[in-house]
Amino acid sequence: MAVTLEHYLVVSITLFSLGMFIVMTRRNGIRMLMGVELILNSANLNLIAFNRYLPGMDASGNIFAVFVIMLAAAEAAVALAIVLAIFQQFSTIQLDEISSMKH
């Protein structure tokens, strides 16, 4: 059986759903960032798959994927710095406990 676009998309949606689930259920800041990485990677998979299977795409999907990887790296650096700052401020990274700006 040949690997088709649909197979890639199923894997991609599974990855996205897992990432979404992690982001929504975890209260820990680090874990949430892990979920975000999963979502970004599912998007990357999509971009590459469409580049492979759709006609006339050249390498634009691949280039996008490279951009996303670069962006994910930058995001991880900034977000982890933020999480570190939050930890210094509140002595916790459980995000639901940080409510000093809540009404």
């Binding site: 979404m20 982001v23 929504m24 259920t25 209260r27 949430m32 995000l95 639901d96 409510s99 700006m101 809540k102 009404h103």
Partner: protein, 673 residues
């Protein structure tokens, strides 16, 4: 001629301004300013007089000049102008001569009085107003100057304003004449309403063309005459004149004897064509004059205040003039006689007043009962006063003879032609006898006999030369001045205004014979009554062959009637004044209850409105503002629910929203394609 007229008016008004603002600072308190100004006016008037009477010498002479003053809108122009004819210049001469002499006299008489400078300012104001009244050419200016002379009269009667009697007298004079003035105003407005004109000549022309006739003309005539009744103190508005004697004596001589009170007569003479066309108005005028002439002379018999006697005599003589003008509507010559009497009277009556002032100045009392024998102390005053008395009594060769005789002749002729009006002649004739009686009573009691108050007699002295000089000049005028005027007016020209001149000429041709008979008859009779009066007075008050006490007792009620001035003042006190006082109370009650009540009721109303508007503010306006706040709060409260602050919730909501959008998109795509 125009320039002269302007100059005549300008001098007194300039003097008034100077005197009013700088009088106190000028040397001698500026008495020379006013006196000099009226002197200059006198010179100008004299030039004008010579020009008109002797150079022009035309009975119908009329010089008119008119300047636009202001526009009343709707083609209605108010103009200011001069109306100069023979009557004007003669009146100008009378006013300026008497005014100048009285100014001169006042320098001596008022010497050392308080407000000496104001006195001369007022005198200048009066002179100006009176000259304006004489010179003006329309009813509008006439009314203004009419009120101005009334104002100066008020100021001068109340000159001793710290005396209650003087203050009351000035108010009485002002208010009483105002009653007449209201009538006059109605008259002017009637003429204006029906003719739309104010200029004398235009009105006369319109009246002669019959544009104003019938009862309207009669009403207008009687109302205009109402002004003269007030100003010339005719019955029933005569009550103010005797009281006006509270003013300084020169004022009485100038204003209340010679000029202002004669203004009413002058006005009737000036507007004669209006009256002339209405026989009813003429009869009213004649009878009002008769009543005044007769009753005033009766009152004068028993008075003891020297100035009041003269005041009643003035009333009586004014009555003669008014009667003559009234009769002048029917009889040729009576009109001229009335105005002629106005001039002679101005001279001899101001002379009499100034003499009485000289006497009062010497003995410091007005009561003739405290005088007597003053002839020896003040020979000039005595002599001049006797000349004045002879003139007023109508003794031949004195000015009053000519004019009074002319009036009586006119009245007699009228009585002969219309026997139902013979009473006029009888009344005037008896009045003439009474006049000579009471005037000689005054002379005998003042200057002859034994002094009744030795102390006052000892202090008496002849007045200074500024006072006696005017007396002498006026005495000369009372003798020759009268004849001079007589000659100038009678022989040279007639002072009858042009419009009625023609009427008179026509009438004169028809009634030549009767007038001659009346003339000689009246002369004989008037001489007879004058000498009877003098002789009776001589017997009672000089020879004492008839006892005064016995006469008083015999005349009992009549004496009381005369002494109390026919109770006219008391009658007014009981009726008009009582009515005013009563209505004052009614009005006060009205004021207290209705007007004050209305004012007071506004307070609760305002309060109610305030409460209502407060409630509106509190519940409606504030309510709206609060509602807004509550609304915002509610929206905030609802929207807070979405702002949980939990990041996962936001994500979930975003995911749900995206899912929902996709779903909607798919459904729409399905439906459409």
């Amino acid at each position: 001629m125009e320039t002269l007229a302007w100059l005549i008016l300008a001098f007194p008004i300039i003097a008034l301004v100077i005197q009013y603002f700088f009088g106190k600072k000028l040397p001698r308190q500026g008495d020379w300013v006013s006196t000099g100004a009226i002197g200059l006016s006198l010179i100008c008037s004299f030039i004008l007089f010579i020009k008109v009477i002797f150079i022009e010498s035309d009975p119908n002479f009329l010089f008119q000049v008119s300047y636009p003053w202001f526009s009343g809108g709707g083609g209605l122009d108010f103009r200011f102008g001069f109306h100069i004819d023979n009557l004007t210049v003669v009146m100008l001469m009378v006013v300026t001569i008497v005014s100048f002499l009285v100014h001169l006299y006042s320098i001596g008489y008022m010497h050392g009085e308080d407000f000496y400078d104001s006195f001369f300012a007022y005198m200048s104001l009066f002179s100006f107003s009176m000259l304006l009244l004489v010179l003006c050419d329309n009813l509008f200016i006439l009314y203004i100057s009419w009120e101005l002379v009334g104002l100066s009269s008020y100021l001068l009667i109340g000159f001793y304003f710290w005396k209650d009697s003087a203050a009351d007298a000035s108010k009485k004079a002002f208010i009483t004449t105002r009653v007449g003035d209201v009538f006059m105003f109605i008259g002017i407005m009637t003429v204006f309403l029906y003719l739309g004109k104010l200029n004398y000549t235009e009105i006369f022309e319109a009246v002669s063309h019959g544009e104003l006739s019938g009862w309207v003309l009669t009403i207008a005539g009687i109302c205009l005459f109402g002004g003269a009744v007030g100003k010339s103190a005719q019955f029933p508005l005569h009550v103010w004149l005797p009281d006006a004697m509270e003013g300084p004596t020169p004022v009485s001589a100038l204003i209340h004897a010679a000029t202002m009170v004669a203004a009413g007569v002058y006005m009737v003479g000036r507007l004669f064509p209006i009256f002339h066309s209405s026989p009813e108005a003429m009869l009213v005028i004649a009878y009002i004059g008769l009543i005044t002439a007769f009753f005033a002379s009766l009152i004068a018999i028993t008075q003891t205040d020297i100035k009041r006697i003269l005041a009643y005599s003035t009333l009586s003589q004014l009555g003669y003039m008014i009667t003559a003008l009234g009769v002048g509507g029917f009889v040729v010559g009576a009109y001229t006689a009335g105005l002629y009497h106005l001039m002679t009277h101005a001279f001899f009556k101001s002379l009499l007043f100034l003499c009485s002032g000289s006497v009062i100045h010497a003995v410091h009392t007005n009561e003739i009962t405290s005088m007597g024998g003053l002839r020896k102390k003040m020979p000039i005053t005595a002599l001049t006063m006797i000349i004045g008395t002879l003139a007023i009594s109508g003794v031949p060769f004195f000015s009053g003879f000519g004019s009074k005789d002319a009036i009586l002749a006119g009245a007699l002729q009228f009585g002969l032609e219309h026997p139902q009006h013979f009473l006029i002649f009888l009344g005037l004739l008896i009045g003439a006898g009474i006049t000579s009686f009471y005037m000689f009573r005054l002379i005998f009691l003042t200057f002859f006999g034994e002094p009744r108050d030795q102390e006052k007699f000892d202090h008496a002295h002849e007045s200074p030369v500024t006072m006696t000089l005017p007396l002498i000049i006026l005495a000369l005028l009372s003798i020759i001045g009268g004849w001079g005027l007589y000659g100038a007016l009678w022989l040279n020209s007639s002072i009858v205004p042009p419009v009625i001149g023609a009427v008179h000429e026509a009438a004169a041709q028809g009634a030549g014979h009767g007038s001659a008979l009346a003339h000689y008859g009246a002369m004989v009779l008037s001489l007879l009554v004058a000498f009877t009066g003098i002789a009776f007075s001589y017997m009672v008050y000089y020879k004492r062959s008839i006892s005064v006490e016995m006469l008083t007792k015999k005349m009992g009620p009549l004496y009381q009637l005369s002494y109390n001035k026919f109770w006219v003042d008391e009658f007014y006190e009981k009726t008009v004044i009582a009515f005013v006082m009563k209505s004052r109370m009614v009005l006060r009650t009205f004021d207290n209850t209705v007007v004050d009540g209305a004012v007071n009721i506004t307070a609760p109303i305002t309060r109610g409105v305030a409460i209502f508007s407060g409630a509106v503010d509190k519940y409606v306006v504030d309510g709206l503002v609060n509602l807004l706040a509550i609304l915002v709060q509610a929206i905030g409260a609802v929207s807070t629910l979405f702002q949980s602050g939990v990041i996962q919730n936001y994500l979930l909501k975003a995911a749900c929203a995206v899912g929902a959008l996709l779903l909607i998109h798919n459904v729409i795509m399905r439906v459409l394609y």
